[in-house]
Amino acid sequence: MSVDPQVLARARARVLGVPSITVAEPVPPGFTGASDGTRVWLLPEWPDGATPALLEEYDTAPMPLDRPGQARRVLAAALRCCWPRLDDAPWPGQDALVIDVLEVYVGLSRGDADLARRWATGELRRLADTGWLLLDEAAGTVRPGPRVALWADETLGPLRDLLRRLPEPVREDAP
């Protein structure tokens, strides 16, 4: 049985979430690629450049999410560290240390700092699972995920203002 390799690639991409392929391989139809130079991440393509934020205008419930506020605060803390040049696009960003991200998140939150770090670690893993961050737990680094490449540039203004206001990560070993 022969299956069109493009169809097969598309099916694989849908099952795997946000897979990455080498730059040399073609992007299957129905996907947009977010490339960082060596690899291409396959992302869903929406008609007419709409994003899922459009669901809100139609009063349709978006994808349900446990503790969306916490997840987004962790995402903001991660972007504060991996997106240092705010005038550029957030993707592909830079590698940042996970401990820095956790410190920024602790600065954002209230209460027990250890507990906040543990919550944030869990959220970092969940965000990495859904392609919002690329987390390398062995190296202890994190960088923006390919999904942030789908953000339209004109919607980024408030986010840039917010990230400018966020405190910088405090480093003990900083010069």
Binding site: R14, V15, G17, V18, P44, T51, P52, A53, P62, M63, L65, P68, G69, Q70, A71, R72, R73, L75, A76, L79, G107, L108, S109, R110, G111, T130, G131, W132, R147, W151, T155, L156, P158, L159, D161, L162, R165, L166
Partner: protein, 409 residues
């Protein structure tokens, strides 16, 4: 409700006549047709719900076919979704029980027709499957109420109806009592049987009152019925009380206790565990975080310090701090340079010698020298003497005698 009871009635007479046998055979025929759809073979009930679907498909096709009936090939075509052996088996059983029979009772008959009784029986069975016995009880009570109001009703029929209802209520309360004394899991599973009991009780009591008003001579039967109704009410109340005791604070009776979940997770086979996820789609869309949502989440989040408004930003790019901080050291250095230029290595110099330039430059120098004199850190001084020299041609036009000198420090 079983055919054997009719046989027993027939056997009570010492010499059963041919008429009795015929009558019993007719009753048996109705029973057989009613439950033909459920029969696996002529002696047992189906063990696969799909077999009932075959029967239903067939009966629906017969209804569409009209008086012509269907040939065997047409029946096979209607049931083409099912395997051939299943279809053959069903057809044989349905024929054997009289649900499907030849249009004319002749050998080698090719066309068949279906029995009306079987369809009604199947409808009844489907309804029982959908609603369970309780709603059938509601229907029976309503029907009986109509019957009692019917002027053609005889006391004997009313007594039979009341006896049947009393028997049903007694069996029901026995079942509830067994449940109440059994395990709580089983009780929870059967909990829907307990819902709406109040309504059934009221309806039954109304029926009981109607029978008693119309036929006072049936008081004995009515007493039985009344006792059965009350027994049922007590049993259902006790079962409900046990159920609500075990449920604790939650009123959601469909929630399983944690122990049941844990036991299932430990004892289930791999297939059973996988079946739990049967209805899930695994390429579900990922959550979407809009930038504005991220901003809103951070701004609504709990924070240690009270929120501060963002400082106003200039419209032009900010070049940062300028190098001129206005610190004192720079000014002191400049003044020291000025003083050394004036002294040129000497210890003292007359002021009028220094001011021999044009007035614009000279007054600036004089101001600097005054600053040097007044600065507490610098070791210079400006000393003015008495007298004044007028120089109409010079510039400045008058000077007073004074010296600028190095103090010893």
């Amino acid at each position: 409700m079983s055919p054997t009871s009719d046989d027993a009635f027939a056997a009570r007479d010492d010499a059963p006549s041919l008429d009795d046998v015929l009558e019993g055979e007719a009753v048996l025929g109705v029973y057989r047709q009613m439950f033909a759809a459920l029969a696996r073979d002529s002696g047992a009930v189906v063990d696969d719900p799909e077999l009932v679907d075959v029967a239903e498909t067939l009966l629906a096709a017969f209804a569409d076919a009209g008086e012509e009936g269907l040939s065997r090939e047409q029946m096979r075509y209607v049931c083409r979704r099912y395997p051939a052996e299943v279809f053959d088996n069903r057809l044989r059983v349905l024929k054997g029980l009289g649900a499907v029979r030849e249009v004319f009772p002749k050998p080698n008959q090719l066309r068949y027709r279906a029995s009306f009784t079987s369809v009604v029986g199947l409808m009844f069975v489907r309804r029982m499957m959908l609603d369970g016995g309780q709603s059938e009880m509601h229907r029976l009570l309503a029907l009986e109420q109509l019957n009692v109001a019917d002027p053609r009703m005889t006391p004997a029929q009313a007594r039979d109806g009341a006896d049947g209802l009393a028997r049903a209520f007694r069996l029901w309360s026995v079942e509830l009592l067994t449940l109440t004394n059994g395990t709580i899991e089983e009780l929870r599973e059967q909990a829907p049987k307990l819902w709406g009991t109040e309504e059934i009780l009221q309806r039954a009591e109304r029926l009981h009152g109607a029978i008693l008003r119309r036929w006072p001579q049936l008081d004995r039967t009515c007493t039985d019925l009344r006792a059965a109704i009350y027994a049922y009410g007590d049993a259902s109340r006790r079962a409900a009380a046990r159920l609500s005791d075990s449920a604790g604070t939650t009123r959601n009776l469909t929630l399983l206790p944690p122990e049941t979940w844990r036991t299932f997770a430990r004892t289930a086979t791999r297939e059973e565990l996988a079946a739990v996820l049967d209805g899930f789609v695994f390429d579900a869309p990922a959550p979407w975080h809009e930038p504005s949502a991220v901003v809103a989440a951070v701004e609504d989040g709990p924070r240690a310090t009270p929120p501060r408004p963002a400082p106003p930003r200039p419209s032009v790019p900010d070049p940062g701090l300028s190098g001129d901080t206005g610190s004192d050291a720079t000014a002191v250095e400049r003044l020291r340079t000025v003083a050394e230029q004036v002294l040129r290595g000497r210890d003292r110099v007359a002021v009028q010698d220094v001011l021999d330039q044009d007035w614009v430059t000279a007054r600036r120098l004089l101001a600097d020298l005054s600053s040097v004199h007044l600065h507490p850190e610098l070791p210079y001084r400006l000393a003015w003497g008495d007298g004044m020299a007028a120089r109409p041609d010079g510039s400045p036009t008058w000077v007073s005698s004074g010296v600028f000198e190095r103090t010893g420090r």
